[in-house]
Each structure stands twice: as structure tokens, then as C-alpha cells.
């Protein structure tokens, strides 16, 4: 069975859980795969540590917890410090490059891709959509899920009236991810 373990980490209020939920939804509802989602919060949701564990597989998933993710998406320095050492060797790190500075604590063979998601979100008009930029970046770099399925998952997960900007944020992240990925391959 092919299984990919993903962890999304950041601060409460950055939309970490929504990012994980969209990935899981795209995989399970629109891409015909199986997915699980586990979410964890700090003592207070907004502004404290927050993470989501997503597993995507071709078959039913028996154990949903992620210990050593194949893919780590981080949106805050604390989440990077906490979760980066747990990345599986040869795994992939997707990080918010304006907020996080990489150090030498990454496991061996990890491929790191950065995106200035907050800046992109602000340029689009709302800082609030940085998680959707990160979701697009994830889709563009990893190619784990089809573009259409993640786009549909974004569209059906965000509040009515915000679809336009959220899809724009998704496309921005996706295109940037494709460029970064092509540059490193």
C-alpha cells in the first residue's frame, strides 16, 4: 500500500486545520483515495501551536497518527522547530519562507521548498488566505493530488462569497510551487 504521511503545523488563526482538511478532502472525496485527519491544539487556539496530521493512502488506513511525516508543511518558526526534526529522512519540507529560517537540524536528505505565503496573501488582499496559498504550494510542489481535486476541495470548503479570493490564493501558491519544484528537479 502506498501511504503518505503529512503534518501541517503553525499558529492558531493561520488556518492550519483547514489546510489539512482540504488536503484530506481532496484526496478522499475528489481523488478517490483514502485519508484521515487528526488535529491538535495548544491550550488556547488563537496564537498558540496548532497542528494537523493527515494520512493519504491508496487503501484503508488502520493507524491515523503521524510520527515521522513524509511531508511537513510549516507556517510558523515554532512549528518548524518542533516538527522539522521529526521529518522522515528524504522527506519534504514546505515552509513559509518570510517567517521561517532553516537551520541544520533537518534530517538527512530532506528537500526543502519555501514560499512567501503571507506576502502573497497580503498582495492578494487578505492575509487570512495564507493557508490556502500554502495548500496550493503543497499541491504544486508535491503533485500528490490532482490540481482539480484540490481546487474543488478549496472551493467547497471556504465560506460563500470568499471563493474567488481563495481560489486566486490557491492558484498563486500552486503556480509558485510548480516553478520551485521545476527549479529543483
Amino acid at each position: 500500500m502506498h501511504k503518505t504521511e503529512i503534518r501541517v503545523g503553525g499558529l492558531g488563526g493561520q488556518g492550519v486545520i483547514l489546510c489539512g482538511m482540504i488536503i484530506g478532502k481532496a484526496a478522499s472525496i475528489f481523488d478517490g483515495k483514502h485519508a484521515t485527519l487528526i488535529q491538535a491544539f495548544g491550550p488556547e487556539a488563537r496564537g498558540s501551536a496548532c497542528s494537523a496530521q493527515v494520512t493519504v493512502a491508496d487503501e484503508a488506513i488502520g493507524y491515523p497518527y503521524v510520527k515521522n511525516p513524509d511531508i511537513l508543511i510549516v507556517m510558523s518558526p515554532d512549528a518548524y522547530t518542533q516538527f522539522a526534526p521529526q521529518l522522515a529522512p528524504g522527506g519534504m519540507l514546505l515552509y513559509e519562507s518570510d517567517l521561517i529560517t532553516l537551520d541544520d537540524k533537518l534530517p538527512k536528505g530532506v528537500r526543502a521548498f519555501g514560499v512567501p505565503a503571507t506576502r502573497f496573501a497580503e498582495e492578494l488582499g487578505r492575509r487570512l488566505v495564507l493557508n490556502i496559498v500554502m495548500t496550493g504550494f503543497f499541491a504544486g510542489v508535491t503533485g500528490l493530488l490532482s490540481y482539480e481535486s484540490v481546487e474543488k476541495a478549496v472551493k467547497t470548503s471556504v465560506p460563500k462569497g470568499t471563493e474567488d479570493l481563495n481560489l486566486r490564493a490557491f492558484h498563486k501558491g500552486y503556480e509558485y510551487g510548480r516553478e520551485q519544484s521545476a527549479g529543483k528537479n
Binding site: G13, G15, R126, L128
Partner: protein, 198 residues
Amino acid sequence: MKLEGFPQTVFLRDGTPVAVRPLAAADAKALLEFYRSLPEEDRLYLKDDVTDAGWLQRFVALVGSGEVVSLIAERAGKVVAEATLYRALRGWSMHVGEIRISVAPALRRDGLGTSIARELVKVATRLGVEKMVIEVVENQVGARRMFRKLGFRQEAVLRSHVKDINGTKRNLILASTDVSHIWDAMEALVADFSPSAE
């Protein structure tokens, strides 16, 4: 200020595509021609003398400063509609934007006004405008219908506030739409509160 996502193509009721994009300084002459081509009765309902070159100069400067957002619709190289968002960059009404729309007579009832207004509402929402207001004269039935479709609701009536071309006094209707709830919902969604904690 650069607006993302333009040019956009909108479609008239018969399927004809029309390009919509932000006004650029180079469009000033074409915009003036558009306004000068409007019938006098239409121009009477506009707040400014849009046929005046001095107004145009001030308008383009406001667009440059970001205080005004202007979208134009183009067909066959001509401006056929213009939508303006006026917003205060300071003061107690920074969350409010006023919308004004003008459409060439030949293209009215074709859905162009609604389409360009919808694009402008999207831009306004992205820019953080939480409440949008319009002013229409009570006998501008088409404009009132169009804005009602976009979610605007009557908020006030100023009695005999406008004199039309024949000197008849008309009521001015103030209508508004509050879009703050849209982004409140998104904010709640990304707040990452634990569902089990509720």
C-alpha cells in the same frame, strides 16, 4: 495599486464577451469619450461633471492614489461601461465604499452593468471594504433592480433630493450591502478552535 486577476472576461446575455480591467492613465481619453457620449439625462444623475477634462484629471489622480478604484469594460476598442469604488483611506468610514456604475445605453439590459458591478464588489471585498453603498434616484428602476440582485437593500430615502432634467424633484435612495460577515466566516474557519472544545 495593482489589482490581481485582471483582465477578466464577462459575457453579455447573448454570449458576447466583454473585457473588464482596471482603468489605466492611458485610458483617460477613451473614458472621457465614453462619458461625453452618454445622454444628458444620464449625466444629470451623476454627482460630478464627467464631461469636464479637469474632472478627468482629478479622477485619474485619485485612481493613482488608490482612493478610487475604477474598472472599465471595453468592446471594439471603446469604453462601454465604467464602475467606480470610492473609499475613504482615513477617518471613521474607512470600511465603507461607494459604488457608481455607468453603462453605454446600447448595452443596457444586456447584463453588463450587473457583471461589472459584481467584479467591483469582489475587488472591494478583497480590499477590506465591509459595507458598500449606492445612491440611486427612485426612477432609475433598472439600476435599483441590478443592485438588489447584488444584495443591496434600501437603507434611507432623501425626499425631493434630486432635480431631474425637467426640474422635477425626485427622491434619492441610499442602499447598502454589508459584506463583513463573509470574511468573518472565513476568519472563524481559520481560527483553528477545537470543535470538541465548544
